[in-house]
């Protein structure tokens, strides 16, 4: 047994709440009658629709492209007819431009042909990844082809695949590692070839021993020859899956503030992104399906559902048997960093990893009080910040003066607010501080 690695500073241990879904295999949800595809799924410039109302599209057809700037194309997950170009409810931006597609139920599903990717050059592989619309589907949504093409002045020597899945409730990556370990490892090899390097670590938290076993088996079969792919078990600690924390845990390197992992010679990809890369390169299949963990006491049946991008939460609820009494909060994403929504009309995007239906007893509803300066947030912060000071400044209407506390280092993991005994909304304070403070 290898020693368990983790990041040294900060972190918390929220209840894992994974038992109820980690045993549920990936289940393919029937396609609903219509899908709503948000045009801005990734970080960067949003797509512009390349189709018009009443156009017929086939499964996998490009329906949106980025005209200028950073981004990847958007594909139709189904064969159907463009019903509308309008706006959809969005978890963060309230509403966002989208394409509505009416599903053609008669159309036969597309069959993708396997190709031998070993023959392709790195640039061709990169183009395939861009054309398939692949972005970091662990949550950030950064276009993958950009990440896999690091600047020439920061040579990369290590690939880290993120299988930590440290957010409570979510087990989608866990299921992918159990059910498709070979494809993830193959995806890792594709990335290694693109980067022109040979070393890959796959970090998995120790609460997924079966995934560690399966992935180790797959890695052993694939290793040998030029590539060295190592499974690295990690301690269970939130936020282990944060890019900077994961890199530090596995390689001991620290990514400087406001720099990318390539600054320390590392590229990080989520395990599910590696699977999507495999699909895109080996089968030419664009990214338009997503495994989403549906959990919480507020839904009749919990599941790990494979859905088409654009499936509305309302259709998922209908498929799983409806809501349960006592539902208090619907969260897109994990309970530590996800976004609460007020409507079931929110569509699933490429970065949705979970939809949680939380009841009153699963969430915190206590009002917050004044800071008692216990300093627990300082101990919890993985970035070495002082959340209490930022909160006190914001409350005193001095949010613009918080750059001195390194507020821009904060990636809003929520560890501080999780431990705060006064239940202070520290992440909310920090977001406000980031809006008002000037970058130095």
């Amino acid at each position: 047994m290898k020693s368990l690695l983790t990041f040294p500073k900060g972190g918390v241990h929220p209840p894992e709440c994974k038992a109820q879904t980690q045993g549920l295999g990936i289940e393919i949800m029937p396609v609903p009658d219509e899908l709503e595809l948000i045009l801005g799924q990734h970080i960067g410039a949003p797509c512009t629709a390349t189709v018009a109302k009443r156009d017929e599209v086939i499964e996998g057809a490009v329906i949106g492209e980025v005209q200028k700037g950073l981004g990847v194309p958007l594909h139709s997950p189904v064969a159907g007819k463009i019903k509308n170009l309008a706006t959809s409810v969005h978890a963060v931006r309230v509403s966002a431009p989208s394409i509505t597609i009416e599903v053609d139920r008669e159309a036969a599903p597309v069959q993708y042909q396997k190709v031998d990717w070993q023959q392709l050059a790195g640039a061709d592989l990169l183009a395939k990844i861009h054309d398939a619309g692949i972005i970091g589907i662990g949550g950030a949504g950064f276009p993958t082809h950009v990440k896999l093409n690091p600047p020439a002045d920061s040579p990369v020597d290590t690939l880290v695949l993120n299988g930590a899945e440290c957010e409570p409730y979510i087990t989608a990556d866990h299921r992918q590692m159990l059910e498709n370990p070979g494809q993830i490892v193959e995806g890792a090899k594709i990335i290694l070839k693109i980067l022109g390097i040979t070393r890959c670590f796959i970090g998995i938290e120790n609460n997924k021993p079966d995934a560690i076993r399966e992935m180790t088996k797959a890695a052993e079969q694939a290793s040998g020859g030029e590539y060295s792919i190592t499974i690295q078990p990690l301690q269970v600690k939130y936020p282990q899956g944060s890019e900077k924390q994961l890199i530090q845990a596995i390689t001991g390197r620290k990514v400087p503030a406001m720099a990318l992992p390539s600054a320390v010679g590392v590229v990080v990809q989520n395990v599910t992104t590696a699977k999507a890369i495999y699909d895109a390169v080996v089968y030419g299949k664009p990214l338009y399906e997503k495994v989403v963990t549906i959990a919480g006491k507020g839904i009749a049946r919990q599941a790990n559902l494979q859905v088409k991008i654009g499936t509305k939460v309302r259709d998922i609820v209908k498929y799983l048997g409806g809501l349960q009494p006592g539902l208090a909060k619907v969260v897109m994403g994990g309970p530590m960093m996800g976004f609460a929504v007020s409507s079931l009309d929110v569509p699933v995007t490429k970065t949705t990893s979970a939809v949680l239906f939380l009841t009153e007893d699963e969430i915190d509803t206590k009002p917050h009080s004044q800071c008692i300066r216990c300093g627990w947030c300082l101990d919890a912060c993985p970035m070495g910040l002082e959340p209490k000071e930022i909160g006190i400044y914001v409350e005193a209407n001095r949010a613009q003066d918080t750059a001195q506390f390194g507020v821009f280092d904060c990636f809003e993991c929520g560890s501080c607010a999780y431990v705060c005994p006064a239940k202070r909304p520290l992440v909310q304070f920090i977001r406000l501080a980031k809006m008002k403070a000037k970058r130095q």
Binding site: K9, V12, P14, P15, K244, V255, A257, R314, V317, G322, L323, P325, L327, K329, V330, V331, P335, M336, M337, G338, F339, A340, S342, S343, L344, L356, L358, I363, D364, T365, K366, P367, H368, S369, Q370, C371, I372, R373, G375, L378, C381, P382, M383, G384, L385, E386, Q404, G406, D409, E412, G414, A417, Y418, C420, P421, A422, K423, P425, V427, R431
Partner: protein, 351 residues
């Protein structure tokens, strides 16, 4: 902070409100109330013991102190137009600690005045919990010491004989008053001290268990340490302040406390005053102590040094109360000097 939105359009939803708020949606089960009431619980065993050491009137003084603190807190918050938060246990804790640092033979009316000063002026006029830069209980004691110097420095009682917990209720307090070990040591010298309290293992033993004159709650080192260790185990306090505070008292007393250098009795210094109560329950008060570990160690050493300075050179036999009060306002300064280490500064070192 949560905005509530109607979900009446949700066809499949039961008709009620969903909460929409910023992440994280999970919070730990710890709360201010839980911390305060746990500390209160840790102070109950020493309180019960004080009844068997000094008699039943310690309960009366403590009850008056706790009740007046709670009442003053409620009235202060009402009059200042703030939410009344007496259920969070912080006023109860202040009342308990206030009673613990006054002599067992004083009039039960004194804590009422101290409560007004501690809670109204010392806490709420400075902004309420979180903004009071002096420890309210010690502020109350300092107020009493300045206002009633005779009572506060002479109303000491010898431990009762056997289980005679009602003995002091009958007689006049003045007739039986004694002196604290530190006062005897300071004013009459070690010879008289040994004559009065004995020496060797039996002296340390009875002092550690609590059978000696002193403030109501400060005498039982054993029960106070036990409660303090429990608070450390629960993660409510860390070892940094108690260890650095007690360590510096021990070392400095050893160096300077004897007839010649390096001949002081460090163990006696820890057991004979309010050092243990101060180290585990007063100096660790969240609001008035620093938050980073380095700052906490320096803060603890500062309190220890000031305590020894007052004990050996100052006008009072015991100095920990003033030592803590003097260090309290330095907490934020120390925090400013010893900031936590950021994960990694931007390349090039600039902000």
């Amino acid at each position: 902070m949560s905005i509530q939105q109607a979900s009446d359009d949700q066809t499949t939803a039961p008709a009620h409100l969903w909460k929409v708020s910023v992440s994280p949606h999970l919070k730990s089960s710890e709360s201010v109330e839980k911390i305060m009431w746990t500390v209160v619980a840790c102070l109950v065993p020493p309180l019960i013991l004080s009844v068997f050491v000094f008699g039943i009137q310690t309960l009366l003084i403590t009850a008056v102190s706790v009740i007046s603190c709670v009442v003053v807190e409620a009235v202060s918050q009402k009059t200042l137009g703030r939410p009344v938060t007496i259920k969070d246990g912080s006023a109860v804790l202040t009342g308990l600690l206030l009673a613990f640092v006054i002599p067992p033979g004083v009039s039960p009316l004194l804590p009422i005045l101290a409560a007004v000063f501690a809670i109204y002026i010392g806490k709420h006029l400075l902004g309420g919990i979180g903004y009071n830069f002096f420890n309210p209980a010690l502020l109350g004691r300092a107020f009493l010491l300045a206002s009633f110097p005779v009572a506060m420095t002479s109303a000491w009682l010898s431990p009762v004989e056997g289980f005679g917990i009602f003995s002091y209720l009958a007689g006049s307090v003045d007739a039986v008053s004694t002196a604290t070990p530190l006062a005897v040591m300071k004013e009459q010298g070690m010879a008289i001290f040994t004559e009065t309290f004995g020496s060797g293992a039996s002296l340390y033993g009875s002092f550690f268990l609590g059978w000696r004159p002193g403030c109501i709650g400060e005498t039982s080192g054993f029960l106070l340490v036990l409660g303090g260790l429990y608070l450390i185990y629960r993660g409510y306090i860390t070892w940094h302040i108690p260890a650095s505070l007690l360590g510096s008292i021990a070392v400095l007393t050893w160096i300077f406390g004897g007839e010649s250098y390096f001949s002081g009795d460090p163990l006696l210094a820890l057991l004979s005053g309010g050092a243990i109560l101060g180290a585990f329950y007063m100096a660790t008060d969240y609001v008035t102590s620093p938050t980073t570990k380095t700052a906490q160690i320096i803060y603890g050493i500062g309190i220890g040094a000031l305590t020894v300075l007052i004990r050996l050179k100052g006008g009072y036999p015991e100095g920990i109360c003033y030592a803590i009060l003097l260090m309290n306002p330095l907490s934020t300064v120390l925090d400013g000097w010893f900031k936590p280490k950021r994960f990694a500064l931007p390349a090039g070192g600039a902000k």
